[in-house]
Each structure stands twice: as C-alpha cells, then as structure tokens.
Symmetry: C2
Subunit: 235 residues, 2 copies
DNA sequence: CGATCCTTTGATATGTTTCAAGCTTAGTGG
DNA sequence: CCACTAAGCTTGAAACATATCAAAGGATCG
C-alpha cells in the first residue's frame, strides 16, 4: 500500500522490506475528526488509505482557510518528521482510514534508506508546488476562475489516484468548505456553482459533480496541470 | 557561506568538506534579471548570497502573483533538484549575487550525504510552511491585515538573517510588487500604507520602512511567527 | 417525523478595483 | 550641474465584485 512511493522513485527490495517492517497503526475516523490540531506536538505521520481529508488554518478573526485537500494515497502531515509542533490542523472530510507511523520510525527510515527519503522529499515538494498554485488561485483569480480551478485540480488528482472513472465524481466538501478552500463566502460559492450548472459546464446531483465540458472547464479555470507534477494520463 | 544548513541540522566534517568541494559558479545579476523562468529546464540550483529575489507565477489573464520573497542565505529553487521543468519564475528584486550549483551535483551530494539531504529537505519544508501561511493571508485576510502581515514576516526574516539591526529596514519592493505579493492593486496598497503611516504604525522614507509600533503592527497583521520555524530571537 | 445541517435565493452593504490625472523621485546625457 | 525622462507614488471619483444579512426550502439521519 505504501508503495505509492514508486511513482516518483524506484525502490530496491531492501527498501520495500523496510517499509513493510514499519510499525503501523491503522485507524478509522468519522467525518469531521481531527487528525492533527494546530499547535499539537504530533507523534506520528499518517497516510490516507481511504476517504478524504483537508488541512486548514484559522485567522485571528476566526476565518478558516483550507490549505489543501487530500485523498487516498496522500501523506497528510509528512512535515511532522522534522517539525515538533504543527502549524496547521488536519481534519477528516469524510470517514477515513489511515495508517499512522511514529515520527521516530519514519525519521529512522529516511536516514537509513536514501531512496525512501528521496521519495518522501519529492512528495513534500509536490505538496509545495500545489501550495504555490493555490496562492495564485486565491490571490489573483476571480471567483469563477477560482472555483473552476479547484474543481479541475480535484478531478485530475482523483483520476491520477485512480478514483474517477468517467467525468462524474463525488465532491466530499460542503459549499461552506469549498468557500474556505477558495477564500470566498458560501453564498457566493453557491451562486457560482449554479451559474456553471446553468451554462452547461457541470451537472450536480447531491454531493456529486459531473464535468460536462472538460475543455471549457479547463479554460474557465485557467487550469494547467503541470504544477501537479504527476504522471497523469492525458485527457 | 553555504553552512547555513547548520541552523537546522548538525553536520559532520565530511559534510562540510563535501559542500566546499561543490562545483560553484558565482554570478552577479542586476535588478529585474530572471534567474529561472516558468517552463524552463533549469540546470542549476541557486543560493542567494546578497540582494533580494522573488518567485512568481502569472495567470492566463496576465495577472502576476508573487509566491515568495527571498533574501541572503535562501535557496531560491531547491525543488529544481527533482523537477525537470520549473512551474514558476524566479526574478531578482535588487542587484543580487548568487552561487549556482549544477542540479546533478546537488543531487549527488544529497544522495551521498544524508545529513545534507536532511538539511535541504528541512529548507523546503519551511518554504512550504510559508506558502501555507500565504494562502491564508491572501485567502482570508482583509487588505490591512494582509499588508501588515507581509511587513511583519519580512522584518522578522530579515532579523533572523541578521540583516536588520533596529526597526528600520529597506523594503526592496515597489508598491506594485507589494500588491502582487498580497493579491491587491497598487493603488490600494498605496492607500493602506498611507493609513499605517498616518496611524503611527510605520514611518516611510523612500523605499525604507520603520516599524514604529511593533506590538500593534503584529496585532494588525495577525502575525504569529511560528510558521517560520526559525530559531528567531524573541522581540 | 422531527431536528439539524446544507443549499438556495433576494436585497442591501462594502471593500477593493478601475480609470485617470498630477506629482515626486531617481537616473541619464548634454 | 541642469534639464529631461521614465518610473514610481499619490489622490479622487465612479464602478463592480463579493460580502453580509436574513429567511425559506431540501436533504439526511436518528
């Protein structure tokens, strides 16, 4: 399971054995559970096995900003290896399963197995690249573009993770959470989503979304997937 | 000079020798020069020896968003080690000196010297932490808070780098660049800055700024330096 | 089948942008 | 050393995108 590493870095047999030998702890959490809290001294690093999670921070005014969204196969807090205190929270967006490994074990593994360290490093670099794109998204794009961009990113990442077959997928975020991810109000998110619907860009049914016109969606969202640094199949 | 690594990670003698043996290339560039361009296939990784630089991306509409600001001692493009094509540009904000090391040499060094790899990894994790805070800044804070936050961060980082003695420092950004960093218009940045001035929060003289009331500035900017993960002296 | 959470909609308020022009500063060449 | 020029800063008025407030309608789950 943990062998998603090999996406970006070939591993040797010894590496795989070392991974398998890791002390694991599989947990199941209900939607809304906190995995890490801002200010915590986390003891573990966690990998999402199923479900969705997000990371977020809160301003002094009490406004929340979602920093990233995670799906099966993502590490949600790899930076815990080196930081003693967490600078943000991680919360389950749905029921989730995750395997947690003690920080010390992950650190020891990284020090003894260069290929694994490198794979983990690359993971954190991709994370950072997505952060950069999000800064642009909330900083310089209008509400339509912002939301469309988020939907495009989420969809492409689902595909890359093998979690989307066709153009329909379920979005594990309420409109309020969507708003917190793009820096808008829930009310405005609602209006923009309705507009997309009316324009025939997407279709909505409960919490699931179909991208009707991918090319146009991509254009509206000013979306270019290079920053995901994935080996995505072309669409 | 490169031994800023030791800030976060103790190195052995062999590590220091390996660093010193690195093939270097010292360059001097004038303000405005591009160090890396979005879409480039960079051949080197660079460390800023003097001056200031920023990283930025441009939207399809042509709007620019500055992603980070860098000063003496910062690596400006460490992710080049693993990514073949750059997802953003790096540009000099002032005259800069930088030492550039071939990607392959940096990669080899990282593979043969775990302590160095670890120090570099931590650098990129701190980068990512600052990105997260910037997402919050542009996503959920109003114009005053945003700008004040940026000024606080810049000032604290200058102090951490030993580049600010008292409460006066020179800001290497035009108001337009400031605007691109916080996701506002130059006009609005100008008004907010004037308001800070009139309220006695800051004083301005040409391109240099004095933080008159640090405590209040910090409060206005909703600034808490934990995310910088520095060993900052307290203020 | 009631209660809660989420979505939708309308009316109004506001922060920020846009446009446009004048002003200041720093740099350059005569 | 002065005049000229370009870049950056400042200011005002009007426009606009998004937020806020408020209330009703749906969905989901004990």
């Amino acid at each position: 399971m943990i062998t998603r590493f090999e996406k970006h870095e070939p591993l040797g047999d010894g590496d795989r054995e070392a991974l398998a030998a890791l002390p694991q702890n599989v947990r199941t959490l209900v939607s809304g559970s906190y995995i890490v809290r801002d200010g915590d001294h986390p003891e573990t690093c966690s990998l999402l096995v199923s479900g969705f999670a997000c990371r977020h921070k809160t301003t002094g005014e009490g406004a929340r900003q979602i920093i990233s969204i995670h799906m099966r196969g993502d590490f949600v807090d790899l930076q815990n290896i080196f930081f003693d205190v967490s600078d943000h929270s991680v919360q389950a967006l749905s029921a989730v399963e995750l395997v947690s490994v003690p920080r010390s074990a992950v650190r020891a593994l990284a020090m003894s197995r260069p290929a694994i360290a490198r794979a983990m490093w690359i993971e954190t670099l991709i994370d950072a690249s997505i952060f950069r794109e999000w800064i642009v998204n909330v900083g310089r794009r209008d509400s339509r573009t912002r939301l469309a961009h988020l939907l495009c990113e989420f969809f492409v990442r689902l595909k890359m993770a093998g979690l989307a077959e066709n153009r329909t997928f379920s979005l594990p975020l309420t409109q309020e959470q969507l708003a917190d991810a793009v820096g808008l109000t829930p009310v405005h998110v609602n209006r923009v989503l309705r507009a997309f619907d009316e324009e025939g860009l997407i279709e909505r049914d409960r919490r699931s979304i179909t991208i009707v016109d991918w090319d146009r969606m991509r254009e509206v969202g000013d979306f270019h997937e290079r920053y995901l640094h994935g080996n995505a199949a072309s669409f």
